[in-house]
Symmetry: C2
DNA sequence: TAGTGGTCTAGACCACGAC
DNA sequence: TCGTGGTCTAGACCACTAG
């Protein structure tokens, strides 16, 4: 980026504006990013260059850059510089992604979709254990208080970048002693095993919320500042209407577009 | 909140931690908020009190508070103090919210849901005009380039607080000269009028993304720092599979839970 | 080693809110 | 008026990256 002259900004506030100086600088840069003057991946001028150009203190420049960072427009790399955030490859999650026809191809949902998108999927951080369900999970699964559930946690990555964590809860009375309790539940995943066991799936209910990530989520998903997460809580019901599984998923929101089909009647 | 003594934090960094001081302060406060020591609505100690307690510069305290603000945990009010963010009343959007049986009650979706939730709904900022569709809208509506669309913009509020903006795009060849072009489209809303005109609705496709809001969105939805927005782009199809409307909706994510029903087959 | 961003200090003046 | 947070300055030292 070439710094053009903005005399009005020098020596304190622009008299034509009551906006704080750091906001005016942030607005300049935001506009440059949105109109393409600064393209994704481009390096911004250094803080020192901004200080010289605008004739302000370094903290004022940093406030402007911080503002853009919390908007998710730029990212800073210690020792390298500040860059316009590149747009990651987008993953679309379709509402039919748990349809039986997909399970019958023998692949779990994540692996099947990734393969078709041409990215290299990996799964790690698998923990499988039994616990007493917390109040919310127990309510969703219709469990008695104190009833045990099987908890399956895993993290999914594409081309080495984490994109999603998921934690499944299955009543222990269903899962105990079956392949669902093993690290690898086999072809088609947990849902295929549930159907093998006679719990034919009828439908799913999915709740979607969004919020800023907690520090532990930033770490596990390697998130950048300014990127919210989607929280999905999905309940699987069998054909008789009984809940058989709850899955709590955290998605990095810059990677995902969720698509749903809604009925008109 | 009563400030307990944290000698380890005084006089610079805790030698047992390589975390920056402002992060340690933020972590303390985050924990107090999450374990309930600081309840929603509570006032935090003033910056001056933190400065005296931790024996750090004011900017260090402000960095910690800024951190919590971008996480959406606290909000600051100029001249009053910093407060633990109160949780607003939640609205659930169900996937059957555009079902015909709801339209037939004669109410548009937003008003019908709000009434049942006991909140006072208002709609303002209505603009109705004809424009040339941009590339994305034209693609979704299957329009020729340059073909005009009717654009309907409005903002919805509950009990005086804005919660949602929506912009509808309807091909002008369908809407022109009908009640759809008027400010008040009549009972049941635009969808009811489309069906009156013979465009019987078949289904909707909804795309959900989340991101940090742009400054104009912060203003129009009166958002606080640290709250992402949902972006919904919904396309309405008639029973013959032709798109008849696209609706672009921005939701404040701390007010909404989206719920969807997914098929298992 | 030079340049970058990350943290921190110790002040200053201002704008807003409550009393 | 006084206490609050908002902005800004002019430095300092540190940690990371690159050549």
């Amino acid at each position: 980026m070439r710094l053009t002259s903005h005399k009005a900004l020098r020596r304190g506030r622009d008299p034509r504006s009551d906006k704080p100086v750091f906001r005016q600088i942030a607005d300049h840069l935001r506009e440059a990013i949105q109109n393409g003057t600064l393209a994704p991946g481009d390096k911004l001028p250094s803080e020192a260059e901004f200080v010289a150009h605008y004739e302000v203190a370094r903290m004022t420049v940093r406030s402007a850059l911080q503002q853009l960072q919390t908007e998710g427009l730029v990212l800073s790399e210690h020792g390298r510089g500040v860059f316009v955030r590149p747009r990651p490859q987008i993953r679309r999650l379709a509402s039919d992604r748990f349809a039986r026809r997909h399970r019958q191809e023998g692949k779990a949902a994540f692996l099947a979709e990734s393969a078709s998108a041409g990215a290299e999927p990996t799964v790690d951080l698998i923990h499988v254990r039994e616990e007493v369900a917390d109040a919310d999970i127990a309510r969703r699964l219709g469990l008695a208080t104190g009833e045990p559930v099987l908890v399956r946690s895993r993290r999914y990555a594409l081309n080495g970048s984490p994109v999603e964590t998921a934690t499944s809860y299955i009543p222990a009375r269903i899962a105990r002693g079956t392949r669902i309790s093993e690290d690898n539940p086999g072809p088609g995943g947990v849902y295929a095993r549930l159907e093998d066991l006679g719990h034919v799936l009828g439908h799913f209910e999915e709740e979607v919320t969004a919020r800023m990530p907690a520090p532990d989520e930033i770490e596990i998903l390697q998130l950048r500042t300014g990127i919210p997460v989607f929280c999905l809580i999905r309940t699987a019901f069998d054909v008789t209407g009984n809940p058989v599984e709850v899955c709590d998923t955290i998605l990095s929101s810059d990677v995902y577009v969720l698509t749903y089909d809604l009925p008109a009647r």
